[in-house]
């Protein structure tokens, strides 16, 4: 076969073609850096602006824009003072609430979610369509009884429970169709699609009835519930990649399922756990709508504090900035800590379809 000798490269070619495989073409490299640095600016500039705004006096904001402290404007600690000295415990309380609620609910969601994820990867479930339909019908009946007939919820719930048990034993045999693990999984994840506005009032009433409104417990349970689907979904993919031999050998050695899960699966899925934890932590740390309704004073969280800085006197940018800046810190620390556990590529593996 006839092949021409290599042509001398033009300048254009040399710019767009790498010298060798290990390097990047000069023009491409320049472009890459331009884009990456530009995006770094896009990402960091709003944060920088928040940061310096927290040191600005109102007059600096309304006369603005001022960019560089000490040169453009004389920074002042007034906003930090207001938030941490004047408000003092009024800032600290929501802050601690946020920390407690976000971290505990995340830990619970990840643990319970992992448990179910493990079960869904290793155990085959066959829930009967009939019993599910029956259950939903009975739940509907309970709702109807409570809301429409104004029956006490305890009573209607027990009626529903009794009916369901009767139903299970009496009719379940007649339903042949059953669902599989994928159906269960999709059912779980579909719960995440529901906008919180739809469910917040019933949840409010539930906690109000049980006297748990405005407690850490209420928020922890609710956050755990809304984030559970994500935990199940992500963890399932991690577990699916752990070889079956491992647990089989452990089970032959006499370990119980729970033990296998705790001592084999959890440690092996550490990177996945870290990635999932991070995502859920971020979601619960920043949640606003549910917190708004389920907390009044004692359990108020930080996003409410931030939102509240928009008063009738106009948004208090300086106070707000302080709060936003201090709100990022715990998540950053958590991210740095988790980051060490998340080895390269684990998050990608986590969401493998």
């Amino acid at each position: 076969m006839q092949r021409s000798k290599q042509q001398p490269k033009s300048l254009w070619q040399r710019m767009w073609e790498p010298k060798d495989v290990q390097s990047i073409a000069p023009a491409k490299k320049v472009l890459t850096y331009i884009v990456l640095i530009a995006w770094t600016f896009v990402v960091l500039f709003p944060l920088y602006w928040l940061f310096i705004t927290s040191f600005k006096l109102p007059i600096h904001v309304s006369d603005g824009p001022f960019y560089i402290p000490f040169i453009d404007f004389q920074p002042s600690l007034h906003a930090w003072e207001y938030i941490f000295v004047d408000l003092g415990s009024d800032t600290l309380r929501p802050y601690m609430n946020s920390v407690i609620i976000a971290f505990i609910s995340t830990a619970l969601a990840v643990f319970i979610g992992s448990m179910s994820a493990y079960a869904l990867t290793r155990i085959e479930y066959k829930p009967k369509v009939g019993s599910i339909m029956g259950f939903i019908a009975i739940l509907g009946l309970v709702v109807y009884l409570t809301v429409s007939i104004k029956m006490a919820w305890q009573l209607s719930l027990s009626i529903g429970g009794a009916l369901f048990l009767m139903f299970i034993f009496a009719f379940n045999k007649h339903f042949k169709r059953s669902l599989n693990n994928n159906d269960i999984l999709f059912w779980i994840i579909s719960q995440r699609i529901m906008p919180p506005v739809v469910s917040v009032l019933p949840i409010y009433i539930m906690f109000q009835q049980s006297g748990l409104l405005d407690t850490h417990f209420a928020l922890i349970v609710t956050y755990m519930a809304v984030n559970l689907p994500i935990a199940v979904w992500l963890m399932r993919d991690f577990f699916a990649r752990i070889p079956v031999d491992l647990e089989e050998s452990a089970m032959l050695d006499g370990a119980s399922r729970m033990r296998v899960f705790l001592t084999i699966f959890m440690p092996l899925a550490k990177p996945g756990l870290a990635a999932t934890t991070m995502l859920i932590l971020i979601l619960s740390w920043n949640e606003y709508l549910l917190a708004l309704f389920l907390s009044t004073a004692d359990a108020q969280t930080m996003p409410l504090m931030v939102a509240a800085q928009n008063a009738t006197r106009g948004p208090q940018w300086w106070y707000m900035s302080v709060l936003i800046v201090v709100m990022i810190i715990p998540v950053l620390i958590a991210a740095a800590f988790m980051g060490r556990l998340i080895s390269k590529g684990q998050l990608g593996g986590a969401v493998k379809g």
């Binding site: 076969m1 092949r3 000798k5 290599q6 073609e17 790498p18 010298k19 060798d20 495989v21 290990q22 390097s23």
Partner: protein, 374 residues
């Protein structure tokens, strides 16, 4: 097309993995780079492909300096250890991908795909996805993909190592057949010396980034250049016994061997292949030399029995392996006497690993090397 490496070196930071290699592969030749893992053989191959930069030295393909040429311009096909098949493409699409990139006309492309598939017996599987194929079939897809565009050069990076033993033997034959039929220059990397011996026109044994010996398989086996080559090539391994050469005799704790032409050497290693040994009864004797040993284990392979014996060495307990007829039987721990049956004994320097030769032998080696080249 020939490929030539001149003084090629590769450094990663301060670690040098290829330390000045010169190789020439003639047109149509099948060269195998043989060496243990980590010896730099894959790096060498990747430098030929252009997938690694060359720190120092030059790479020529048919006299054209391609040292700084990107892989895509080198017109090389490579088969990877993992096959690197595209999982989202069917077998046909995988094979046809190089042609797609060359914008080959559709009908010609289809023809070429079918032809390539025929050569590796894959016609029934053209519509399947790689995950639906067995290991051997995947391997053949990778081969077909490499062949389909008739490259100047085939590079293969341990292509058979993921296959089971039986399939490996089969594929080896196929590979050799195809390479000869197509006549494409091929460089093949492996750590398996049987593959090297069976496939190669020439073998380059590499260790620590340096070519230890570049020769025909026959010469590599019959005339290893040094202790490393001698030990690496051959299965079961060559037996090594440490001792002293003195007055035309090699003596060790358990061994006593004649070697009239050798000069005296105080730290010598004697190498002898298992097939050149036999266990003798008290009544027999050896012209060349004997070794005293005890039976350690017996392994019947079918056509022969591999006998492992333990001996006293100069330094430590050692083992030597003897090939015996399949009907040979003996108790474990029984003391035996092993006779050397052939003149094919090699001596090395224990420290340097270099071959110890006498003058006449030296001349002989040169002669055979010359004849092999021509």
């Amino acid at each position: 097309m020939s490929i030539e490496l001149k003084g090629v070196r590769k450094r990663y930071g301060s670690v040098e993995v290829v330390k000045g290699v010169d190789i020439t592969v003639e047109d149509g030749q099948f060269l195998v780079l043989l060496g243990p893992s980590g010896c730099g053989k894959t790096t060498l191959l990747r430098m030929m492909a252009g997938l690694e930069t060359v720190t120092e030295g030059k790479v020529y393909i048919t006299d054209e300096d391609v040292t700084d040429v990107l892989p895509k311009y080198r017109d090389i096909a490579m088969v990877f250890q993992s096959y690197a098949l595209y999982p989202h493409m069917t077998v046909a699409e995988n094979i046809g991908y190089p042609l797609l990139l060359r914008k080959t006309e559709e009908s010609a492309k289809q023809k070429a795909i079918v032809e390539a598939a025929e050569k590796v017996h894959l016609e029934p599987y053209l519509d399947r996805y790689p995950r639906q194929l067995s290991g051997g079939q995947r391997q053949r897809v990778a081969l077909a993909r490499a062949m389909v565009r008739r490259p100047r050069l085939f590079l293969m990076d341990e292509p058979l190592s993921n296959l089971d033993a039986k399939l490996r033997g089969h594929m080896r034959a196929e590979l050799k057949h195809l390479q000869k039929k197509l006549g494409v220059t091929t460089v093949y990397v492996t750590h398996d010396q049987i593959e090297a011996m069976t496939l190669a026109d020439k073998v380059a044994v590499i260790h620590n980034g340096v070519i230890q010996q570049l020769d025909t398989p026959r010469n590599i086996y019959n005339d290893p250049a040094n202790l490393f080559v001698a030990g690496f090539v051959g299965s079961p391994q060559m037996n090594m016994i440490r001792g002293v050469i003195q007055n035309g005799r090699f003596s060790s704790v358990a061994a006593d061997v004649h070697c009239q032409t050798m000069q005296d050497h105080s730290d010598a290693v004697m190498g002898v292949r298992p097939e050149d040994l036999t266990i003798i009864t008290d009544t027999q004797s050896s012209q060349i030399g004997t070794i005293k040993a005890r039976i350690y284990s017996l392994e019947l392979t079918g056509d022969e029995t591999i006998v492992t014996c333990s001996i006293e060495d100069k330094v430590e307990q050692a083992q030597i392996v003897v090939r015996m007829p399949p009907d040979y039987e003996e108790q474990i721990d029984a003391p035996v006497e092993i006779a050397i049956t052939s003149e094919r004994i090699f001596f090395f320097d224990d420290e340097q690993g270099s071959r110890l030769r006498d003058n006449s032998e030296q001349a002989l080696v040169n002669d055979t090397a010359m004849s092999a080249m021509s």
